[in-house]
Symmetry: C2
Subunit: 458 residues, 2 copies
Amino acid sequence: MSLDQVLARIDADLDDSLERLLALLRIPSISTDPAYKADCARAADWLVEDLASMGFDAASRPTPGHPMVTGHGGEGGRHLLFYGHYDVQPVDPLNLWNRDPFDPAVEETADGKVIRGRGSADDKGQLMTFVEACRAWVAVNGSLPCRVTMFFEGEEESGSPSLVPWMKENAEELKSDLALICDTGLYDPQTPGITTMLRGLLGEELTITGPDRDLHSGMYGGPAMNPIRVLSKILASLHDDDGRVTVPGFYDGVPELSDEIKAQWEGLSFDSDGFLGAVGLSRPAGETDRTPLEMIWARPTCEINGITGGYTGDGFKTVLPSKATAKVSFRLVGQQDPHAIRKSFRAMVEEMLPPDCTAEWHDHGASPASVMSTENPAFEAARQALSEEWPNPAAFIGSGGSIPVAGYIKSVLDTDSMLIGFGRDDDAIHSPNEKYHLSSFHRGIRSWARILDAIAKE
Amino acid sequence: MSLDQVLARIDADLDDSLERLLALLRIPSISTDPAYKADCARAADWLVEDLASMGFDAASRPTPGHPMVTGHGGEGGRHLLFYGHYDVQPVDPLNLWNRDPFDPAVEETADGKVIRGRGSADDKGQLMTFVEACRAWVAVNGSLPCRVTMFFEGEEESGSPSLVPWMKENAEELKSDLALICDTGLYDPQTPGITTMLRGLLGEELTITGPDRDLHSGMYGGPAMNPIRVLSKILASLHDDDGRVTVPGFYDGVPELSDEIKAQWEGLSFDSDGFLGAVGLSRPAGETDRTPLEMIWARPTCEINGITGGYTGDGFKTVLPSKATAKVSFRLVGQQDPHAIRKSFRAMVEEMLPPDCTAEWHDHGASPASVMSTENPAFEAARQALSEEWPNPAAFIGSGGSIPVAGYIKSVLDTDSMLIGFGRDDDAIHSPNEKYHLSSFHRGIRSWARILDAIAKE
């Protein structure tokens, strides 16, 4: 019944653990594209079967969108809720992948072995680290060390429309002493982190219409307003010369870092040059008076995630298009109110529209930032457990990404979340050639075994 | 041997003329898309066969791109060169068509019968008006009224890369007393025009690269430069608040209208409100101190014809893309030098690039504006012939579009061109649901018969 036996079992079972992950990765569960609806259901069923095989009372639970997966196992001790998501991002541009994104494999790289495929890091590989830790624990000890509720979502990559209503309806079943979320990254390949600051996310899609049909730019160019020109002007105005976002009221509720956090982050000696250099950049964009680490972890941003209008195929077509569309997202911090910012952004755009042009809006979700309380002693226990497994001690860190579920778990279930994950900055999540290091997977499983051991008892 | 007999023959043969046009329209000869290469060759072969059937010595002539079609017929009198193009624009967005663009048909509309299908107006329908006029002439008189050289291009919609080299190589064969080009429009449905001012065209494609791969906007948003933001800033800067193009030196060589032309155009009582209202607009964009007619016929413009970057599919993806691309075209007038403007535009863009961003360029053609000399007495003879056929007398007019071949016929062959066409402003060329009025087709054929009669003798 010792932790060492569980860790040994994990090491011995690694090949089989990997085979299971590859089987899950082969299911193209792209939640944002309706064409993959059946695949999302298939991924949920696969997980139900896997949880059931190790004694969980597991089920695929219908929602208006893709199903939730729940599993109840173990008893006594702390009641832990584990959250992960089985849906994945779209894969385009497909031609930039070095292999079929849904034919995953382990590849040798200069940086060690990696599991290549869509979802390997975000989030199937991470989700399975916890599942495999539970499996090893059950195999060695016959049962889990405490009560565990599994909770897997299938809509994380498409704005989680069903999440909050479903959590509200099933709150009694999900309420627990602490939630564990595995959808974040290491601080660096040697240093694990417990993420305690998360940015919020506001997603907007904007379509500008000028003329009511596509026109010939020779016949109408000049007198007819071009919606791409209007859209460009709007997008170009979203940042001022100092890189600050110009939406009125945008910085309301944005806190300055405390001296304590500032000192802690300076101690991390973040390598800005290396961070940017790894993706072919040398100078930080964004707010001119902030460091890159502060920008990612603690400052709000505005990004254009997609734009399209007119003729975009090969060759040339002298069209003056009727419509142009952009997808824009805002990362939020502190007390920024996503709904107020949405309203202000839309009003700003409407005010910039020339006569004859109209804007249509598509809402792609809104979640506020969250800051975790680390007062629960499980945080310090988990930090120590992680520090046993990895070369460097674990740190409490921020994250540039948004994990809205942590906020919902707090607001709907009144449960604190502890975010621990094993991804790396260069995992290419949301990009071609996504990968998850085999060492992230292996050490991730071992990390959860250690954490379970450390926090199972209240 | 009278003109009346030829006109009667045209009327009697109209159904067959229409069937021939529909057969040609069924061939999807999209020149800009390599997938349609064989179809372009098929359209050329169809024309060769049709010309041969009425006695022309016709051939499909290879080029590095799509073939040229030539046909030699008739003898004596003025040697006329007739130019048209058999290639067509792409058809996307396909879902906006009310029928298969390559399954053409005659449709009843509130505005009379129209021939619906890609290429009906641009330029197969127009090209066939001249071919059918020749056919009727041969049928009635046994031969053409003068020497005619047919010259059909298959790359007009894709920048005409082979045109000038091929014309140079075959200049002796193409040299003639006057060129006729049928690729322009009526002034209005009752008023034919001979187009004597044509704008030039400069096409540019610009790709901005920021980071060397697609990034997660949560992880990199802020410190990493977003190429869509850079591109938007560049495009937004191309016009000043008065609607003038900001490229340095852009207005060099742009002439003011002579008082005479100004007076003539004012006499046309152009309906700006109706022109814009027909496409859902109410206020002219473009240069604030110019009228819409002046903007279209005599002012240079800059339009963004296409833009793409990041995720543009359904749903949302928080990507920070590596690249963003725009297609930009400039319409040129007077003595504007397309090559100088290209250089200035590229320099202006390069200067705006932030550190770490690069621009790649793709050249999509450059042709200067052209102004036809109307001194050749054939112009006045043709004007009178057109005036016989249509409700209102014909006018010498300008055109917003670009017909570069007219300039090449002058520079390479030293031959003047007379541009006469029967399209309407709302024909939706380059757009979904392209159509050509049956009356344009029928009266167009009759117009050419009259013009041939009027100008065949030197």
